[in-house]
Symmetry: C2
Subunit: 385 residues, 2 copies
């Protein structure tokens, strides 16, 4: 961090607050002396900052332990970051399910809830489901709505920076929906909306199969797959937010429609009917020849889509997820075919977050937003220069 | 730029030199007073720095114009950046041609040369061609080899940071070739080796069809196409340098081999025989039905490859180049099909640099390298903090 030799005193106070808060958040409870050592600030500065943080509710004094004996004098006061001073929500609004995760200011999930929703639900019905799920979750956890600091949302479609879904063919009525604005009516804190596959890749990088890589493609392997990509640890959204929407590749006049890929009867499956898809996988596992053929078609298509992503982007790691069951059977063919056809084949792993990936990524985006505000010391200094 | 309040005096001198050099390079000749105003440095500092730059050969005093009259006193001394103080080379080592561009320190091309080379040439023969082409070029331009400051090279294949071609199936013997090391024997300056499509996208961004965009995919549309991508103005090489090597997508068991795509006889074309490809395009233009079918197959394949790149990356602009002739016919079908199948279709343009794209991009990489050394003030300051 650069040394500040002058300038705006309120900026200086904010920076010092962030420095102290950062030191408190990363460790256990600490004394003033400890904070002086950790931050390099003077003792009077630390005292002033800590008083301010206590007033704002972000820091609390830890009561002296009753049984504790000290060799001399009264015990030094100890302080800790109040992770419970604010809460975050990570929400997935999917085709057949809405899910929400509640977390404290460190991003630790304290509670979760989900509800089924019809694939045919209108935006109003779907958003009612979201509101009911969140209301239940907050009531059960005893968290007042006013203590929410940020809400992240992951949903299918191309999402603008302002939270509008510019194109979302997977959910009825989704295209053109000002989803961010609609949700802001329910929350008094910032609401951040992101494409579901983008949220999922952020989640796998945070606490899933991709914690050791910065260059990841996450494939949401539904009947019409989508993908989210991290490049150098940063989300690659594309120029118009449409990066990774690989599902259309098979519409170029040569391939079966997605609905036919997993069909064993000639009748198309509903493209969002994941349960029907899972049943086909299960029957293939039991040896049903028609189901096996269908799974083979599905895998061939998935291999082709993933190969296109890998050849275009050259990631270190491909994480496959998004399908409730049966995906473990695709790993081996994927690895084999990518090794044959890609100049530099990536590692291929299953999602470890499974169904929770999208909501977890949405939560991480909410946490990023809050951390930027609380802890953005470097950024603040740079912006003032 | 941050203010320097202390630290390494030689660093300070280097920074001041870079500041003065930058001011001189961007404008016409300037007086000391002009430089004081442009840089914000003191007059004694500017005088010292200019003396040093004259000694190093990078700056020269402009002779006073003889006919010029001044109202009083002797004319103020004027100085200019010696763009001719050093030279740069941009080299393409292709399958059937080697080409070289010579430029001054501003990147202005002063001369060029090229030679044909057999597609079957060994690495030794191919590098002999490169050396002969460069020797001719330098001799003709009257530029001593010792005044070369950097050499950029663009060539097919996956290229490591050290200039080794880890995989290059297009040229015989290319895989595993330590191309950077081999060329360093001929030059006493840094040699930077880059994948040809990567070099081309840098070129189109610098002075071609993509000067107004930061998110570009360049498609080298040969029989087995490759691509280079800029994301946010920066080259996207991929985790292992293989990003954009889309050519293998059609090997996934469903498509004709590249050699058959443009064949009108059933006999495969040589994959690097661009002249034969151009003849098929010409015959199609004359109405030959077999040639028309072949061109249609070629376009269908190109559309599919470009769609895969576009769906994965979502660029603002696709630039198509790399084929000597006939490519204008692919623009319309490409635009039409991408508009049908991509959620957010990009603009599609023809390369304006044509055959010069790869060598021009290699030149830009050499220029970047030199500019980083001469003008990297911000970078230097940051690195020391």
């Amino acid at each position: 961090m650069g040394r500040l030799t002058g300038g705006d005193p309120s900026l200086l106070r904010r920076i010092n607050s962030a420095v102290v808060l950062h030191a408190l958040r990363d460790g256990a409870s600490t004394t003033l002396t400890g904070l002086v050592q950790l931050t390099g600030l003077s003792r009077p500065t630390v005292e002033g900052v800590v008083e301010g943080l206590i007033e704002s509710g972000l820091v609390v004094e830890v009561p002296a332990e009753e049984g504790r004996t000290r060799r001399q004098g009264r015990p030094a006061r100890r302080f800790r970051f109040r992770t419970e001073a604010g809460y975050l929500l990570g929400i997935e609004i999917g085709s057949h399910r809405v899910a929400a995760l509640l977390a404290d200011l460190r991003g630790r999930v304290t509670d979760s809830a989900s509800r089924d929703v019809s694939e045919a639900a209108s935006p109003d019905e779907r958003l009612d489901r979201v509101r009911a799920t969140v209301a239940d979750l907050l009531r059960r956890a005893g968290v007042p709505r006013s203590s929410l600091r940020a809400v992240g949302v992951g949903t299918p479609g191309i999402v603008e920076a302002d939270g509008t879904v510019t194109l979302g063919t997977a959910l009825p009525g989704w295209t053109g929906l000002p989803l961010g604005d609609r949700l802001k009516r329910s929350f008094r804190c910032p609401v951040l909306v992101e494409n579901d596959a983008n949220a999922a890749v952020v989640a796998e990088h945070w606490k899933g199969a991709g914690t050791d890589s910065e260059d990841i493609v996450f494939v949401l392997a539904g009947l019409s797959p989508g993908a989210g990509s991290l490049i150098g640890g940063r989300l690659h959204r594309g120029y118009g937010g449409a990066a990774g929407e690989i599902g259309a590749l098979h519409l170029l006049g040569r391939e079966a429609k997605p609905e036919q890929v997993l069909s064993t009867t000639g009748e198309p499956l509903h493209p969002l009917d994941e349960a029907a898809g899972a049943r086909v996988f299960a029957r293939a596992g039991e040896g049903d020849p028609l189901a096996r053929d269908a799974v083979e078609r599905f895998i061939r298509r998935l291999v082709h889509d993933v190969a296109a992503l890998v050849l275009a982007l050259d990631p270190e790691l491909v994480v496959v997820g998004g399908w409730p069951a049966g995906l473990d059977g695709v790993l081996e063919p994927l690895r084999r075919e990518l090794a044959r056809y890609c100049l530099r084949p990536p590692r291929v792993e299953l999602s470890t977050l499974g169904e929770a990936a999208v909501a977890t990524g949405a939560l991480r985006l909410a946490l990023d937003h809050v951390e930027e505000r609380l802890f953005a010391v470097e950024g603040t200094v740079t912006a003032r220069r």
